[in-house]
């Protein structure tokens, strides 16, 4: 696998897990969050960079190395913050891969049409659960939770 420069915006549960996993995969990872305490979730094994600041502020993005970034992941708790940061990364800095969580399905669809890769937690989870109830089978074979536990091992 080719080594990539990854920026993760938002160090909540999703952001910290993604950052740790990508770091374990051998990528260069930088995490941005508004508050320092959020970085506690990264644990002791994570040796990537941590940047405190607002992910929509271009000074902060530059400090995080956005000019040499291959992958930009937006997972703050706010849909609109994710949308704005994703557009800055996509439009201004031409980051090749921008992935954004947008929990409102309509906004997720609208911005997907603009060329930003969006993932909607709402439809993803409800769809997976519904399929399981109807068919008794999981649509996703991979057990991501086991993978998470191996991060802690």
């Amino acid at each position: 696998m080719q080594q990539m420069n990854v920026i993760v915006l938002g160090c909540g549960r999703v952001g910290s897990t993604m950052a740790r996993a990508m770091f374990q995969d051998g990528h260069t990872v930088t995490v941005i969050d508004l508050v320092n305490e959020a970085f506690r979730r990264l644990g002791t094994k994570f040796k990537g960079s941590r940047v405190v600041g607002n992910g929509m502020d271009e000074d902060v993005l530059k400090r995080a190395g956005i000019e040499k970034c291959d992958v930009f992941v937006c997972v703050t708790p706010g849909d609109n913050r994710n949308i704005m940061a994703a557009q800055i990364a996509h439009e201004v800095y031409k980051v090749p891969k921008v992935i954004t969580r947008i929990n409102d399905p309509i906004r997720a669809e609208t911005y997907r049409e603009l060329g930003i890769l969006t993932l909607c937690g709402t439809t993803l989870l409800s769809g997976l659960m519904r399929d399981f109830v109807n068919t008794n089978e999981w649509a996703i074979e991979k057990d991501y939770n086991k993978e998470y536990l191996s991060l802690n091992a």
Binding site: N80, M84, Q87, R107, L114
Partner: protein
């Protein structure tokens, strides 16, 4: 015109009041229930509770027939999404956004917002006009700030004092359009001499403003 204002803070409130007075049809959308209650007590039926980023709420607000959507919340990311959604989902002809962080202005234009109002910058410019003396004071910016109209006070140490306009080495992109002497404005000619306390009004491109300042103001001020 039918205008939807998103954000019922003080900007949205006074904007709505002014627009209603000028006989526009106005709807104010406010997310926060407490703020909504306060504003609707004052403005009545034209205030609706809801999140302007939600398509369902905007449909209820009648965005389909809106002539303009104005986003004036205190968060730039919300204002951006409100305007973009109005444009992309509902083809609203005109979207206007308040900008809180002045650095976002060019980004918003790039992302398709028709017009922005940058209150921080406007207030900053006003303050600059108040506190700067003997300097080049911006009065108005034309063409998004590429050309400026500036005012220069001639102080006792100004190097141009007593000189004629024709003796100045003005930058190419600068033009003196008026000299105001004791509240009397005149159109200057090549022979106009500068006197103490003259106010010089000039048209200058933004990147030549510093050159103009160097000509008119004392070096060691």
């Amino acid at each position: 015109m039918y205008i939807i204002i998103v954000g019922g803070g003080s900007v949205g409130y006074y904007l709505a009041k002014t627009l209603i007075k000028t006989h526009h049809e106005v709807l104010v959308l406010e997310k926060n229930r407490g703020t909504h209650k306060t504003v609707s007590e004052e403005l009545g039926e034209v205030v609706m509770q809801g999140d302007g980023c939600e398509v369902r709420i905007m449909e209820e607000a009648g965005v389909g027939r809106a002539d303009a959507v104005i986003a004036v919340t205190g968060d730039d990311e919300d204002n951006l999404v409100i305007c973009q959604m109005a444009k992309m989902k509902f083809n609203v002809p005109r979207t206007i956004s308040r900008i809180n962080d002045p650095r976002n202005e060019s980004l918003f234009h790039r992302l398709g917002i028709d017009a922005t109002v940058n209150a921080t910058k406007i207030i900053y410019n006003l303050i600059e006009q108040e506190i700067e003396t003997n300097e080049v004071i911006p009065i108005a910016a034309l063409k998004r700030g590429n050309i400026e109209i500036v005012e220069i006070e001639i102080g006792p140490k100004s190097p141009v004092l007593g000189k004629r306009i024709s003796n100045l080495q003005l930058p190419e992109d600068a033009l003196i359009i008026s000299v105001i002497r004791s509240d009397h404005g005149m159109i200057p000619g090549p022979d106009t001499k500068f006197e103490l306390e003259d106010s010089v009004i000039a048209l200058v491109s933004a990147d030549k403003e510093h050159d103009l300042r160097d000509i008119f103001t004392e070096i060691n001020s």
